[in-house]
């Protein structure tokens, strides 16, 4: 079974700073997908960014980018120019597509990110 580990329960940075959230995972699969989800106080789960394991290029979405290190099984999220609205829980998630799409996501326990004004 796959496992996802987020080693930082909570982080706090000043507005406009850059912050990196860590995620490691364990799998024997070669093809898989990785995601970062954001959960603000509204409780809604929002997809931030997606990475396919077979793509070497790191995914980027505006101020959000990832550092995907397949050999190290590491998938960190970098938030540049952080904003107050980035305050949220962030969850790393893993998806093994070998089940044909029927299986769920495996989530880490989350990192609570606080952006200070």
């Amino acid at each position: 079974a796959q496992t996802v580990t987020q080693s930082q329960p909570e982080m706090s940075v000043q507005e406009a700073e850059t912050v990196t959230l860590s995620c490691t995972y364990d799998t024997s699969e070669n093809n898989y997908y990785l995601f970062w989800y954001k959960q603000p106080p509204s409780r809604q789960m929002i997809l931030v960014i997606r990475q396919e394991a077979y793509k070497q290029q790191n995914a980027t979405e505006n101020r959000f980018s990832v550092n995907f290190q397949k050999a190290a099984k590491s998938f960190s999220l970098k938030i540049s120019d952080s904003q107050l609205g980035d305050t949220a829980m962030y969850f790393c998630a893993f998806r093994d597509p070998s089940g044909g799409g029927a299986d769920g996501l495996t989530f880490g326990k989350g990192t609570h990110l606080i952006i200070q004004p």
């Binding site: 809604q44 997809l47 597509p97 799409g101 996501l105």
Partner: protein
């Protein structure tokens, strides 16, 4: 935003009573999922469905059952609610061609 609604959004119930949570989608996705979220655990998969009347168990399925009689609706039932089932429940749909899942707004269930 994906068209996913959950009802009710909040519910308080007593131990031993049956509870049914509903997930409704307008996206016509084949796959639907139920997760629970608890502090210190992230989200954990309860059950999933890969088509009408096709369902299977997830990681934490004990005490829960599901049904899917239409593509758009996925029901989660607690036959006899216990305090350990106090949680926030999320429905999700997917996968898209890139395998992400889209989540409903969640239901906060309190079992007293």
């Amino acid at each position: 935003d994906a068209g996913i609604t959950q009802s009710p959004r909040h519910k308080v119930t007593e131990t031993g009573t049956p509870v049914t949570l509903r997930c409704h989608q307008t996206e016509n996705h084949r796959y639907m999922y139920w997760y629970r979220q608890d502090p210190g655990h992230g989200l954990r998969l309860i059950h999933y469905s890969y088509g009408v009347k096709d369902t299977d168990k997830g990681e934490v399925s004990d005490g829960y059952s599901v049904s899917r009689s239409k593509t758009e609706d996925f029901l989660l039932t607690l036959e006899s609610a216990t305090s350990s089932q106090t949680s926030v429940y999320f429905c999700a749909i997917g996968p898209t061609s890139s395998y992400e899942q889209y989540f409903g707004p969640g239901t906060r269930l309190t079992v007293t």
